[in-house]
């Protein structure tokens, strides 16, 4: 079963706008990761945030983590048509599950030129 739920399921914006995707999860985590998937192919790792971190930046990406609410958000600023893809959050548990990623169902982002 999936660990988390992502919201919204689909998002359509214009180029240059910001896109925000949210992820909620159920159990305690060691870290949370965001991945991008283009056209049903392989996943690309975007960013990892540890459970003791609250915010992290990478280029146009900003990720926040609220462990009290068991939620995370991914913000893509100044979006581009090339950002069109599905975005997944994935969690790693706190004990004995090194490398086992538990994915949410994903948000499909469409950026219109």
């Amino acid at each position: 079963s999936q660990q988390g739920e992502e919201d919204p399921q689909a998002l359509s914006i214009q180029e240059g706008e910001n896109a925000t995707m949210n992820c909620s999860y159920k159990t305690s985590i060691n870290n949370l990761q965001w991945y991008r998937q283009n056209s049903g192919r392989g996943l690309v790792h975007l960013i990892l945030i540890r459970s003791n971190e609250r915010e992290k930046h990478s280029g146009r990406l900003r990720v926040t983590l609220d462990t009290s609410k068991k939620s995370s958000s991914l913000l893509i600023t100044a979006s581009r048509a090339a950002d069109t893809a599905s975005y997944f959050c994935a969690t790693v548990g706190v004990s004995g599950n090194t490398g086992k990623l538990i994915f949410g169902q994903g948000t499909t982002l469409q950026v219109k030129p």
Binding site: G40, G42, H45, L48, K100
Partner: protein, 115 residues
């Protein structure tokens, strides 16, 4: 430096048949994980191999089995195929450091269709 490679790209089988999917990890990586992704869903963890042994397993039946070779490449075998096994099968490799933050690098996947 080659990334993670998977073969074949696409595969069509009929119910009851058996299938073998292959994965070569990124150069320098020693751990391989397999995921199943149904259409419109997130990937689900099948199992992980390190030092030629299955280290962790997700909630998948015994029809799903795997193997890791001394060169770290891996195979996923599925027996007695069901229609519900139709999915994209993803392989991910990483360098085992005993850390939960090992970044996994995914291959392009194998699209399996069961008729």
């Amino acid at each position: 430096d080659a990334g993670v490679t998977q073969s074949p790209t696409h595969l069509i089988k009929t119910r009851g048949q058996q299938v073998t999917l292959r994965c070569s990890p990124k150069s320098g990586h020693d751990t391989v994980s397999w995921y199943q992704q149904a259409l419109g869903q997130g990937p689900q963890f099948i199992f992980q191999y390190y030092e030629e042994e299955e280290r962790q397993r997700g909630n998948f039946p015994d029809r799903f089995s795997g193997h890791q070779f001394p060169n770290y490449s891996s195979e996923l075998n599925v027996n007695a195929l069901l229609l519900g096994d139709s999915a994209l099968y993803l392989c991910a490799s990483s360098l085992f450091q005993g850390s939960s933050t090992d970044t996994q690098y995914f291959g392009p996947g194998t699209r399996l269709t069961v008729l």
